[in-house]
């Protein structure tokens, strides 16, 4: 049997036992104290209401300004004072112009996020070693989480302009090393050489050499892609 789409057999017990349960909770356990105040609380409430009304009477007359007695001359004078203020706001909201770099400049950005070599190289686990491990830990290789710092050297037109080493990110030194630097260069042809080194090794892991023509106002970015290596955007 259904009433408004709800089986009535679910409702009847609630209707019968609900009030009983509520009565027991209300009387026996003391829930009524949540809804009613004892004498002390009533007295406090009365005092606080009396205080509120006393304060409201006073704050109704709270601090106020006298009305200004404005005359046409004063309004004109006000307008004359607003004018320099508006001029000040209007002018400095756009001027003087800021020259970030000279007009014949271009920008080169280096932005690399590089995963360094593992501090301890991976070793291959034998079948016996794997079976000693718990099932979920049985991987073919044993690798350390920690990675080495990475060093990036950038030379522009034969001159080294960037040589920085970055530690791996993460509390366990297991994240990538990040590099970010911008260079303002004159427009024209430039030879770019980037070398990436593992830790303090002298042989680069990767090298990149390119000559590029930059026009005034052009911006390029050199980034690293795991598959494509160093690329220019």
């Amino acid at each position: 049997m259904e009433m408004a789409g709800i089986n009535i057999f679910y409702i009847v017990p609630i209707m019968v036992f609900g009030p009983v349960v509520f009565f027991v909770l209300f009387k026996a356990i003391g829930i009524q104290t949540l809804f009613t105040l004892n004498d002390e609380q009533k007295e406090l409430q009365r005092k606080s209401r009396a205080l509120e009304s006393a304060l409201n009477v006073e704050t109704a007359k709270s601090a106020r300004y006298k009305k200004a007695k404005l005359t046409p001359a004063k309004i004109v004078a006000q307008a004359m004072l607003y004018a320099p203020f508006l001029l000040f706001i209007g002018y400095f909201s756009s001027y003087p112009s800021y020259q970030y770099a000279s007009e014949n400049s271009a920008q080169i950005k280096l932005s690399f996020t590089l995963l360094g070599e593992r501090k301890i190289p991976c070793t291959v686990r034998s079948a016996g070693e794997q079976s000693d491990l718990k099932p979920n830990m049985r991987t073919a290789k044993n690798c350390s989480r920690e990675r080495n710092p990475v060093r990036v050297v950038f030379s522009l037109d034969g001159k080294e302009v960037f040589n920085q080493s970055a530690d791996p990110a993460g509390l366990r030194d297991d994240g990538p090393s990040s590099f970010y630097q911008t260079f303002i260069v004159p427009a024209g042809n430039h030879e770019l050489v980037v070398s990436i080194f593992n830790n303090d090794e002298t042989t680069p892991l990767e090298s990149f050499t390119r000559t590029i023509a930059l026009s005034a106002g052009q911006a390029i970015a050199l980034t690293h892609d795991a598959t494509a290596g160093i690329v220019i955007h």
């Binding site: 006073e58 709270s62 004063k74 006000q78 508006l86 706001i89 800021y98 932005s111 911006a219 955007h233």
Partner: protein, 524 residues
């Protein structure tokens, strides 16, 4: 540095008092003006957000569309920018003015301290707004901001990498920028609320006429000089020359010059220095007001009048028949004495050896005020002879009373001077006392310039009490023609002297009072 700055502000305020008639003087409305400008920025921001396209490809075009609709959306865009710029100016002048007046010491440290993050959030709100236009300026500001944040190394990958090339910036990231520009100003509002929460009845709305004139002025600026954009952002290009909003972007050229690390050092250093200003001030804190329960009937007038919410009414603790009693929060009290002036028991007529009142200051106490007043009035009466004797009750932040007295003497005006911390400390019964018992021909109550009360409400309460609008009232029997109020700051000495001189002449034209006698204590 503080005093010259204070002199500067007082001169400016005096100058503005002319056209703005004191009541509308914007220099005394800087805090409430900042609030009002915030609402203009919020209102215009909501409007332009309706038409704003939150995608990378559509943002610039939508802003351009608004700019070209010069008669509505264009005005709203310009209002959004200029009200934001004006808010920076108003907030910075407000900071300097409060500093110059020393309104950051004692209980006022809280408002000062919470004002510091407001500066950060205000700049962050404005800067994040510049990102959204997505023009070359937006590109410059966004990249600079991210490079600055990246230096902290807390984001894992460099956030600035999102701006490497046209393909690296996504709609999703751009939506994040929009989100930032909505929520940072909301946080700003939250801190602004925090900033004023310890003040009683904080004034967050300037007078209506001032709101109208400021709005009109900004609309005029928006029409005459509408805000425009640069070329559309292009991540394969670098902006070499930018029309700069110096109000919000002033830190960026410095950032370009010194780099992110030193820039953080400058930002954090200045923040710490400004935050610690209250600690660097060595002004001795005045002892707080105290309650004498045997004289307190719990009328709550002191709590109602205290401008700093330093008095709370609590259930009675001494068994007297009254329900409540006043309790002073010493940390919030600045010892202005306004509560003393509000207490109906504070009357000099009572002949009580100790003259205990419901609430009093340790120094100057009500008794010391009465004793000094009696002494001053007797001397002034004696010196004046048959000429007018005027009793002046003046606050210590208004005109220099010693100088005024010297000038008055030179003009053959006989004045007795009594200084109080704030004009609001003076119970109105002192005026009655001076005329009826002190045989003064007239009384002058002086305080800070109109609407510029150092302790916020002292001037208002004084006038209301005199005009019988607020308890304790000045009794009807006191001849109002023998009373003058002069509101003037220290730069208004001449104006104050002229007003005293006019008052003296007016007194001379009045019929003579009863036979002068010598002031003594109060009633037996």
């Amino acid at each position: 540095m503080q005093q010259p700055l204070r002199n500067f502000f007082q001169h400016i305020e005096t100058f503005f008092d002319g056209p703005f008639d004191g009541a509308l003087n914007p220099m005394r409305q800087l805090g409430s003006l900042a609030f009002f400008l915030y609402w203009i920025v919020a209102g215009s921001g909501i409007y332009i957000y309706i038409f704003f396209d939150t995608s990378v490809s559509g943002a610039y075009e939508s802003v351009e569309w608004m700019t070209n609709q010069w008669y509505l959306a264009g005005i709203m865009r310009s209002l959004h920018r200029y009200a934001s710029d004006a808010m920076v100016v108003v907030a910075m002048v407000h900071l300097l003015r409060e500093f110059s007046y020393g309104r950051y010491v004692g209980a006022r440290w809280f408002a000062w301290f919470t004002g510091v993050p407001i500066i950060w959030f205000l700049f962050f709100s404005g800067v994040s707004g510049y990102w959204l236009v997505w023009d070359m300026l937006a590109q410059y500001v966004a990249i600079g901001s991210m490079e600055w944040l990246d230096w902290l190394g807390i984001f894992g990958k460099q956030v600035a990498n999102n701006f490497l090339s046209p393909i690296t910036i996504t709609d999703r990231f751009f939506t994040l920028l929009v989100f930032i520009h909505i929520f940072v100003p909301l946080f700003l509002l939250f801190i602004m609320w925090f900033h004023v929460m310890r003040l009683k009845s904080p004034r967050i709305n300037p007078p209506k006429m001032l709101m109208i004139s400021v709005s009109l002025a900004l609309v005029v600026l928006s029409l005459v000089y509408p805000a425009t954009s640069h070329e559309k952002a292009d991540l394969s290009a670098v902006a070499l020359n930018l029309d700069f909003d110096w109000f919000y972007l002033i830190a960026y050229p410095l950032f370009d010059a010194i780099g992110p690390g030193p820039m953080w050092a400058v930002g954090i250093g200045v923040t710490i220095l400004v935050s610690l200003v209250p600690l660097l001030n060595r002004t001795k804190r005045e002892p707080a007001a105290f309650v004498s329960l045997e004289k307190c009937n719990g009328c709550s007038r002191c709590a109602s009048d205290c401008p700093y919410d330093a008095i709370e009414m609590k259930p009675r603790t001494d068994g007297l028949k009254f329900d409540i009693e006043a309790v002073v929060d010493a940390n919030a009290c600045v010892a202005c004495g306004i509560c003393v002036g509000a207490c109906p028991v504070s009357t000099p007529f009572r002949h009580d050896e100790q003259l205990v009142t419901g609430i009093d200051l340790p120094e100057p106490s009500l008794k010391s005020l009465r004793d000094s007043a009696v002494d001053t009035m007797n001397k002034t009466r004696a010196k004046a002879g048959q000429q007018n004797a005027i009793m002046v009750f003046g606050c210590k932040n208004g005109v220099n009373l010693e100088k005024l007295n010297a000038e008055a003497k030179a003009n053959n005006i006989h004045m007795g001077i009594l200084q109080v911390p704030c004009s609001g400390m003076l119970p109105p019964s002192f005026i009655d006392f001076a005329i009826s018992r002190g045989s003064m021909d007239g009384v002058v109550v002086m305080g800070c310039s109109e609407n510029g009360c150092y302790h916020r409400f002292g001037q208002f309460w004084t006038e209301d009490r005199i005009n019988q609008l607020r308890d304790p009232n000045l009794r009807t029997r006191v001849p109002r023609e023998r009373l003058a109020t002069i509101w003037a700051n220290p730069t208004n000495l001449t104006k104050a002297l002229n007003q005293v001189s006019d008052f003296n002449k007016k007194l001379s034209s009045l019929p003579a009072q009863q036979e002068p006698s010598t002031a003594s204590g109060g009633d037996k």
